[in-house]
């Protein structure tokens, strides 16, 4: 399970891998946190539950990370602990996430958006893997 930056001329790109899809989502969120360099307040943690649906796994990942982009910009909240459950159904995918986080004290980089550019989750020797390009 992990993430690493990959080369991109103008924006930021991450390669993320994990044993299963749920952990892949959580690790992608951790990678995004690392990119933004958010410093969080100590003290009581904020808990939130997220329910999302999307036609496919990649769209679900974009929707999930886009929720975190919105929370960071609009509510100055970053989440660092995730319990993610995904389910594939006949009409698409759903996600339930239990998240814990804290108010952002400072941030180095604002992530404008999560793109679909060449986005494809695939199974490799490391489990599930995906490359994500962020607009910054």
């Amino acid at each position: 399970m992990g993430f690493e930056e990959i080369a991109h001329t103008a924006d930021w790109a991450l390669r993320v891998w994990a044993d299963d899809l749920e952990r892949l989502f959580a690790e992608a969120a951790q990678g995004m946190n690392a990119l933004s360099g958010a410093r969080l307040a100590r003290g009581p943690r904020t808990r939130r539950t997220l329910s999302l649906s999307a036609p496919d796994a990649e769209s679900l990942l974009v929707a999930f990370l886009s929720e975190l982009v919105y929370a960071a910009e609009q509510e100055q909240l970053a989440f660092t602990s995730f319990q993610v459950r995904t389910l594939e159904r006949s009409d698409g995918w759903t996600l339930e996430a239990e998240m814990e986080g804290a108010p952002i004290l400072s941030i180095n980089k604002s992530i404008k958006a999560v793109t679909y550019h060449n986005l494809q989750t695939r199974q490799t020797a490391r489990g599930y893997e995906v490359e994500i390009v962020f607009d910054v």
């Binding site: 930056e5 991109h8 001329t9 924006d11 360099g37 036609p55 793109t115």
Partner: protein
């Protein structure tokens, strides 16, 4: 992988990837670049992205690439693509997340030498009045109904609320308001992101900059534009902030289904699109225009803030501190325009992603004073080098859908720039060059270092030699405000 031998050299400044290069291309790709710049472009994946963009349904003519091109997502940055109206597609990814990101140039009659003792105070005040940085709130906070008026009216809202003059609007692309904006197609989430950010610069490569007109290359147009050698000018580079980012995010997601519905096959999901005459295409066009109007109003309010700073610093001390608008242009936008394609006048949607409209003399929509010169084209360089003011030409109308380059273009990744350059050292170096720097984040400053960009002079030389823009003046930065 695209190699040099896959391209046909048309002139020393123009190259073509023929439509036969890949079976799914609908039009060829025409690249404006010298061989040296082209070889730099080939270092990343931007040419593959240009070929991908050439697969969109309804494309006409060719996909046009500017010499400042670099890798983006979906479309490369520095691309122009025109689709036939109304049955061709509109692609949110072909316009970008920062809808109507653009540049405004204001000119003054203050001599640089006379202003030297005041530059520090000016940089500080501009930094105070033009909020920049990650997620920072703007100078104007409006409620949602008022925001919806801004989305409909753009700079006209600013005029009604005393943030603008009639001349400002006349000297703004589309007079600062795109018709057909539909706030009802902008999500509540986008509106929430926008209503507190109007009048803010943002972060990344956005900035407010004081420049000195270092050289006048063409005195006739420079005089019409009000640019005098040795005098101060101000550039404002920003866009539609979180509102635009959310509009693009929403529609890139929503249009994933439209692509399936209309049987469109794409090599990259970021290129999602919908026919302009479909409900989905109409909804996006309405929302995109609303976000574009937000950006026009945003830059207008920042111009008002810059005027306040100039007045406060210079009034009673130096004459000529009133900032006159030279022009305001967009470089991430989709516009319905009429162009000649293969000898036929066609109504098309011109997607400009990291490319500037560069209408030639006599083009519709230019204010009377610019009818003979052509439209001012503003090309900001990196913060340590130079920026250029150009004008559009008749050739740009013929060869590039009335478009030109938009900047220097990145050549080094942000990660590498941050690894190799220390923000604090860069700040010192810029200060030694006489450039006052106000930056919210030192790592952010390092990412935008001049070394991370191509040589803006080489980029401008290319568009000038190719004839798609004409050089007017070169600007040198003297104070830079960044998030």
């Amino acid at each position: 992988m695209i190699r040099l031998q896959d391209m046909k050299r048309i002139t020393p400044y123009e190259w073509e990837i023929p439509q036969s290069f890949r079976a799914d291309m609908r039009v060829p790709v025409r690249i404006f670049a010298t061989q040296e710049l082209l070889e730099q472009i080939m270092d990343d994946k931007s040419l593959e992205q240009a070929v991908n963009a050439a697969t969109l349904p309804g494309l006409v003519g060719r996909v046009v690439i500017m010499p400042d091109m670099h890798q983006g997502y979906g479309f490369p940055i520095g691309a122009v693509a025109a689709t036939e109206f109304p049955q061709g597609v509109v692609s949110p990814g072909g316009i970008g997340y920062d809808i109507n990101c653009g540049v405004r140039l204001l000119a003054s009659d203050i001599e640089y030498e006379a202003a030297l003792p005041y530059l520090d105070a000016l940089a500080t005040l501009l930094n105070n009045y033009c909020p920049s940085g990650v997620g920072v709130e703007g100078v104007v906070r409006v409620n949602i109904p008022e925001l919806e008026r801004i989305l409909r009216e753009g700079s006209r809202w600013a005029l009604k609320n005393d943030y603008a003059t009639e001349t400002d609007l006349a000297r703004t692309e589309e007079s600062g308001c795109l018709e057909g904006a539909n706030p009802a197609k902008v999500s509540d989430r986008a509106k929430k992101r926008g209503h507190e950010q109007i009048g803010s610069v943002g972060a990344g490569n956005h900035f407010v900059e004081v420049d000195v007109v270092e050289a006048v290359l063409d005195p006739g147009p420079a005089s019409v534009l009000g640019l005098r050698q040795g005098y101060l000018a101000v550039q404002i580079h920003c866009g539609s902030r979180g509102l635009g980012h959310q509009v693009c995010t929403d529609y890139v997601q929503e249009l994933q289904a439209a692509v399936r519905r209309y049987g469109i096959e794409l090599p990259d999901r970021e290129l999602v699109c919908a026919p302009m005459d479909s409900p989905e295409g109409q909804a996006y066009l309405g929302a995109m225009r609303a976000a574009a109007n937000f950006a026009f109003a945003n830059r207008q309010i920042l111009a008002h803030s810059a005027r306040r700073a100039f007045e406060q610093v210079f009034a009673g001390k130096l004459k000529g501190w009133e900032l006159r608008q030279v022009y305001d242009i967009a470089h991430n936008m989709g516009k319905i325009e009429t162009h000649e394609v293969n000898g036929e006048r066609l109504k098309v949607c011109v997607h400009r992603k990291g490319a500037t409209r560069a209408f030639g003399p006599g083009a519709p929509g230019l204010p009377p004073e610019y009818q003979k010169t052509g439209q001012p084209v503003l090309v900001p360089g990196s913060m340590g080098t130079a920026s250029w003011v150009l004008v559009g030409t008749a050739t740009s109308m013929e060869r590039s859908f009335g478009s030109s380059c938009h900047g220097a273009g990145r050549t080094m990744s942000r990660a590498k720039a941050k690894r190799e350059i220390r923000g604090e050292n860069l700040r010192k170096k810029l200060e030694e060059q006489g450039i006052k720097v106000r930056a919210g984040s030192m790592p952010g400053l390092a990412e935008e270092a001049p070394q991370a960009y191509k040589d803006v002079d080489a980029v401008v030389e290319t568009v000038s030699a190719a004839g798609i823009a004409r050089k007017v003046a070169r600007l040198r930065p003297v104070a830079v405000i960044k998030g």
